[in-house]
């Protein structure tokens, strides 16, 4: 088996839990991460936390990005974290984006979301942070 010339790409799952049908933002982020050389598994709209976690396991991703605009983030994001723990996935960081008030963002960080991006965040910052927090290959 020939050795890869470059380090393996970071695999990242981008998912939109919840019922809102707006995924333009998530798609823009997905494309930016791709352009930065990552392999993006785009999970599509209206995923349940259970589906997201199963996808993350099957795809063996190094990073999970969640986006939610419906306001249900305080129900959905912690549920994803809890399910990850239940499945003993401890080494895959989660970041979040969407319309998330500062107070909620603080709470989400406290329970283990590694980064929370508001609407004004630049793509450069998202890419840089994603690279910084992604699981390193074993």
């Amino acid at each position: 088996m020939p050795k890869a010339a470059t380090p393996p790409p970071i695999r990242v799952l981008i998912a939109k839990p919840g019922l809102d049908g707006h995924d333009r933002g998530a798609k823009v982020v997905a494309r930016a991460l791709r352009d930065a050389g990552m392999e993006v598994i785009y999970a599509g709209l209206r995923q349940t936390p259970e589906e997201i976690v199963e996808s993350a396991i099957e795809e063996d991703v190094d990073l999970i990005g969640l986006s939610c605009l419906s306001g249900a983030h305080m129900a959905l994001f912690p549920r994803v974290l809890k399910l990850l723990q239940a499945r003993k996935v401890r080494d895959v960081p989660v970041f979040a984006g969407g319309i998330i008030p500062d107070d909620d963002a603080k709470k989400l960080r406290r329970i283990g979301i590694k980064a929370v991006f508001g609407p004004g965040t630049t793509l450069e910052e998202i890419v840089r942070t994603a690279r910084g927090i992604a699981r390193r290959p074993a």
């Binding site: 997905a30 791709r34 063996d60």
Partner: protein, 327 residues
């Protein structure tokens, strides 16, 4: 096999149904991690049982949607199914957005399903050595049917025949636009044609044209491709599609020599590829060695032509050893 105790831990985990172990091994295969080689070696005797079905076709014809519909259909029949979806990597950034994991009909707790996306990572062709090994891992893990969707462009589709026992070519109405694709070889690889998007106008006409075209040709290895009209969106024709696929698998089994011969052809292709990979690797090493820069110097200065230099490199690297081994 001499008992399970000898198996590497990761192989044992995979065989016991550990989905994370399976997923990790796939990543190792994709990353060319040499640690996976003993695992692949140990699992190889446990492979060869799954039905591997390839799906190819032009961009956007609905391959993923058809795969999803087949997945739901097969789960209703109680068959375990794995999906491997290969998407192109960007030649510029190396990154890729791997197909929307459309999985509306899937219960996330269902252990009888496994879906994995792969980027082609600039490997030659859509179905590469890595895809083959990923399929083998799923085979060893016990999935009965493995659906492989390949990148929808040009020549690479043709490699699906090197991995799948049945190849499905997905097309859409308005075949006129597809003539180029057919010319590029998709026509030759199909065991089953699926005219998808039957909810749009023209599907029946397209299917008739296609059937006519199929009827004109001589059967390949005794099989004349079936033509099925389906709508992945509405779920129509999907059970007929599976019936056509199953009929081809049955045809392969009707004569015990037939499936074996097809498999030997695929394995021969794989072995040639693997040997070529070794040669390529050693040639690259030779050329990257500073003490061997004379090869490139001579060719660049027009003192030697590329073929003569290639002969020289090959001789130096391989021929002496071969001679030594012969008495």
């Amino acid at each position: 096999m001499t008992g399970g105790a000898r198996l590497p831990a990761a192989a044992r985990a995979l065989l016991s149904g550990d989905r994370r172990a399976l997923a990790r091994l796939m990543t190792q295969v994709e990353n060319h991690d040499p640690a996976v080689l003993p695992v692949l070696r140990a699992l190889y005797p446990k492979t060869g049982r799954a039905h591997v079905i390839g799906l190819a076709g032009p961009l956007g014809v609905g391959k993923s949607s058809v795969v999803n519909a087949l997945l739901a259909h097969l789960r209703k029949l109680g068959t375990t199914v794995a999906v491997v979806a290969v998407d192109p990597s960007s030649p510029f950034s190396g990154g890729s957005v791997l197909g929307d994991r459309i999985r509306l009909e899937r219960d996330p707790g269902d252990a009888g399903v496994f879906i994995r996306s792969m980027a082609s990572r600039g490997r030659a062709g859509g179905v590469s050595a890595a895809t083959r090994e990923v399929v083998r891992l799923l085979d060893a893990a016990g999935f009965s049917v493995i659906l492989v969707e390949t990148v929808g462009s040009g020549q690479v589709d043709i490699e699906i025949r090197d991995i799948a026992s049945t190849s499905v070519v997905v097309l859409v109405p308005h075949l006129g636009d597809e003539v180029q694709t057919l010319k590029a070889g998709l026509f030759e690889i199909a065991d089953v044609f699926c005219v998808n998007k039957a909810d749009l106008a023209g599907a029946d006409l397209a299917a008739r044209d296609l059937s006519e075209l199929v009827g004109l040709g001589a059967p390949r290895d005794g099989w004349r491709p079936a033509v099925v009209v389906a709508s992945a969106r509405d779920g129509t024709g999907i059970s007929e599609l599976w019936t056509a696929i199953a009929a081809h698998e049955k045809f392969l089994d009707a004569d015990p020599k037939r499936r074996a011969a097809a498999e030997r052809t695929r394995l021969a292709t794989e072995l040639v590829e693997l040997v070529r990979e070794r040669y390529t690797e050693s040639a690259r090493e030779e050329l990257s060695e500073a003490s061997r820069s004379h090869w490139l110097d001579d060719v660049a200065a027009r003192r030697t032509d590329p073929r003569t230099a290639a002969d020289g490199i090959f001789e130096r690297q391989h021929a002496p050893k071969a001679r030594r081994r012969r008495p």
